[in-house]
Point group: C2
Chain length 584, copies 2
């Protein structure tokens, strides 16, 4: 029981020297990768650079205690940082104390929401984010993030929460481009793209172990940071208009009490909820992928608690919302991390960096950080998914396209809310006109097929309709319509059979419709039967009065219905039927 | 084509003297019933009495031209009048010109929405109102309406849009009770309840034809109106504090141009949408019930246009939102109406009443109208439905209970929106953890059953999971979890079969999950197969790359999968299998 809520107890027992060595190596590599990332994502969220470092210390320790993934690397991530900027940007100006207060409160509220969801075991809520919606959302977010970083590459001021605003703002300031910044920005971006695409294959060609080559290639941003910082320092580029990170307070973050202002909480609640769910979905899918590779399991509801405590840890140490990062976790996994202790060691690494490295980062150009963000997020953009989804399903495509368009055109929150709403509506719409077919018997068999598509036997007195969907409120009236349409044109019918092999649920609305159908058929002198009703559906029907009022019978199989209503069951087949009955 | 949009062309062709006589008789009876109703529902909506009459003339003519039900009687109805009062009451004070303007605009916007829905064939949108939600909503509305009329029975002032507000307000004014009003109100209510319960059986006992007895019993409100008006006139009760209808402008309504104020439209839009959908659902279910009794059909999408034009007709003649009424339509049907012409004749009847009867209504006490409303709506209250729904399904019960509680406690719009949202969430929730079972073969047959519940054959190398639900975003991750859970504890598995006899849909999210499952099983050296995939689902899978990447096969039947993976198909059964294959 205790282990369920404190997964650390599980793995700490078998912790040994070998695990320690592996975790330490992984932590070292992740630390090197995380330093520029944490600074960059703080920049993306509109926050001072040190906030990124603060969000990469305590949250990692909290996740190591409460998280269930052995290899997930928690910290600031691109999409959540963008959502933070959008949420907080509505309430305060960047650079003000209110902005930081709101970002910290956002992490805290998000943490509380995640923990409550975890305790109430509401991990399934994340399922409402369908794959096309999350994929479209991440593509659109990647594009917005890349666009939002262009100002740093160009060395100008610009702002906006959607593509249109961003481009208008960029256009207004395009005259102010700073040439040294542009040179650094473009060079860094080109270098990072080259590293991502070509360095790893090159290293492998020289005979390097592919895993080590991969880790070296992932350290590209660190090289870019070091090189551009040195160049800026040496040529005094900060005096020529190149914006640098500047002085970062040295020392560990102090303990912060987040704001408990009711107004602020109310204003941030919806944003915090969206950030929680998006962060959770992202994180769980990475964690699940990595866990499956080692035949390990993660516990989604406990992950909510792990991520929740991480966010609260972030808030109380002056950080902003965090979640499990994709590329970082993959590096952690590939570098051989075996337990969440690797995360705790990474936290120590970042803490040390915060204590001793910050003076070295004074001359780090913001353009370099922007370049690392752009290269990282463009890999998230997957426009090919639009094409694949179009080929597979028009409904899923529309949900994806709507999410992308609204996110780009209106902002992240509008995009995700519209996507979720649309995908739910489209699903209900799809099931609201279920496939159904009038069936007849394949001669000489126990099988029943669509009369329009097969040569089958049927007569004018008994009509059998097979319905291929659960019956519930969205299609209950359609079923009534379908039955009345069939009956009103066939006056000679005496028996109607509803065949339900694929009906997994009959809800109260559908029950009402079945009662109405039964009553109307009764008025017309037609008996209403059902066949192949599943066990759980039948159990439920028994709890209503419907079966008592039913004018006909419920048959276990359609073949039994046929035999009983036609009284001409042939003996050869009844053998098969007996076998079946035994099986039932 | 023209007939589709103008159903009048259909029935006018065969119109003859007999149909005319029947329609005229029905129209006369409905007119007598509609006069007090239209006045009462105007009162309920907070509007002058004549507005109720205006809403009962042109709308009926419009429906006769565009509607598809032969017997639906359109006009003001209780629930829609209550919703009108709630919507308009937010924007203006009762009795002001703005209040009337807003009510007229509401009818117009509602008409436009209905017509657009009809043209776009969106009648299916009404399906989102599940039966428990609509039933709970009507019960709660009935209670609120009855409570809102108590002030007229007591002769005091009170107002409110939910039960709490109403009772607080009644409590504040309870000292002002007017005794003559109370006597009239209580007597009228008691009389009407008696008429509804006892008059019809009594008349039948005296040997009267039951249909005629029914029509006479339905005329109870007219008798109450006549009697209390005479008493009030004779004893000058209006001078003793009994509130009367007062002077109603004599003459037909003039042509009104509804307000096109953009602000007003925006404020009324959501209310108009809810009124449209609730009114449509109510109306269509009555129309469908009556049509089915005569083996006639209605066309729901054309009904939207019929009701839409009725509402626009109401707006341009100074009326408020209308729809098809339940009790009135039943009377129309029972009185022998054969075509929508009966509605047009009713309109003439009401027009004549507006021209000549209005002076006679001066002394009609408002308490009598309140009594007719209370008796009418209490018959809509069905608290027994709560018990029946509880027995059948906890989910449906919670949707119904939430609708009732929110409608009573917060107001009609909050109630219906919460009910719809909750029933959609509960449906998704129900399908998010679908029933699934590991199955084995019933020895000596082609049948496969749950290994936990039946004595079946299975081995350690081939694992078959039957899933009993369509696969879509809400349960895609659950499926992944279920498969990984099964696989991670069974290392000897070489083949995994997903049996899909009840899978009617695989959406893009579920496809992604199947791809992930296939990939992870591949990493673990397990082949992934599927069996009994339905035709339309298979067609869709063929449009993706999934089938190419799949490590295993898709089998037509689970028995084929068994034979192929076990290579021990016995010959006796393969006969049956051949029969089946022929059938497939």
């Amino acid at each position: 029981m205790l282990e369920r809520y404190l997964p650390i107890i599980g793995w700490a027992k078998s912790y040994n020297r070998l695990t320690l060595t592996n975790d330490l190596v992984a932590a070292l590599i992740v630390t090197i990768m995380l330093i520029p990332q944490s600074l960059a994502y703080a920049l993306l969220a509109g926050l001072p650079a040190e906030v990124g470092l603060y969000a990469s210390i305590l949250p990692l320790v909290a996740y190591a205690i409460f998280g269930t993934s052995r290899t997930l690397a928690v910290g600031p991530v691109a999409v959540v940082s963008l959502m933070t900027a959008a949420a907080v940007g509505n309430l305060a100006l960047q650079g003000t104390a209110e902005y930081l207060t709101a970002a910290i409160a956002l992490a805290f509220i998000s943490g509380v929401i995640l923990i409550i969801m975890g305790i109430l075991r509401l991990g399934a809520l994340a399922n409402f984010l369908s794959h096309p919606v999350i994929s479209g959302f991440i593509t659109a977010s990647g594009l917005i993030i890349a666009a939002s970083q262009l100002k740093h590459i160009l060395g100008i001021n610009a702002s906006g929460h959607n593509l249109a605003e961003l481009f208008v703002s960029l256009g207004e300031h395009i005259g102010d481009v700073n040439t040294p910044t542009l040179i650094i920005g473009v060079t860094a971006t080109a270098f990072l793209f080259w590293v991502r695409k070509n360095l790893k294959p090159m290293l492998i060609k020289t005979g390097l172990n592919p895993r080590i080559a991969d880790v070296i290639a992932k350290a590209g941003p660190v090289a870019a940071v070091a090189a551009t910082t040195l160049v800026t320092y040496y040529f005094h580029l900060d005096q020529q208009g190149v914006k640098v990170v500047g002085s970062i307070p040295t020392g560990l973050p102090g303990f912060e009490i987040p704001s408990f202002d009711a107004d602020l909480w109310q204003q941030l609640f919806v944003s915090a909820l969206l950030i929680s769910i998006v962060g959770f979905v992202e994180s769980v899918s990475v964690a699940q992928t990595l866990a499956a590779k080692r035949r390990q399991r993660i516990v989604p509801n406990q992950e909510l608690i792990g991520l929740g405590t991480s966010n609260i840890a972030s808030a109380v140490s002056g950080g902003f919302p965090v979640t499990g990062g994709f590329s970082r976790s993959v590096v952690n996994f590939d570098a051989g991390a075996e337990t969440p202790a690797a995360g705790a060691f990474t936290a120590i690494g970042i803490a040390v960096a915060t204590l001793v490295l910050t003076p070295l980062l004074f001359f780090l150009p913001k353009a370099t950080l922007a370049a690392t963000i752009i290269v990282a997020v463009l890999s998230l953009v997957d426009l090919g998914a639009l094409k694949r989804t179009w080929a597979y399903s028009r409904s899923d495509f529309s949900a994806m396209a709507a999410t992308i368009l609204l996110t780009l055109g209106w902002g992240v929150e509008a995009g995700i809310v519209a996507g979720v709403t649309l995908s739910i509506c489209l699903f209900l719409q799809r099931t609201s006109k279920p496939h159904s077919a009038v069936v007849g018997r394949v001669p000489g068999t126990e099988h029943f097929r669509n009369v329009d598509r097969f040569e089958v036997e049927y007569d004018d007195k008994v009509l059998t309709l097979r319905i291929d969907e659960s019956l519930y409120f969205a299609n209950a009236r359609y079923l009534e319509d379908r039955v009345y349409d069939l009956i009103s044109s066939r006056r000679e019918i005496t028996d109607f059979v509803l065949m339900c092999p694929a009906v997994n649920l009959i809800d109260a609305s559908a029950l009402e419709s079945l009662e109405a159908i039964n009553q109307r058929l009764k008025d017309l002198g037609v008996n209403f039967h059902m066949s192949e009703v599943k066990g759980p559906v039948m159990d439920r029907l028994r709890r209503s009065h419907f079966l008592d009022e039913m004018t006909g019978q419920v048959f276990l199989s359609q073949y039994q219905a046929w035999c009983s209503l036609h009284k001409n069951c042939d003996s050869k087949l009844s053998q098969c039927a007996e076998q079946r009955a035994a099986a039932n």
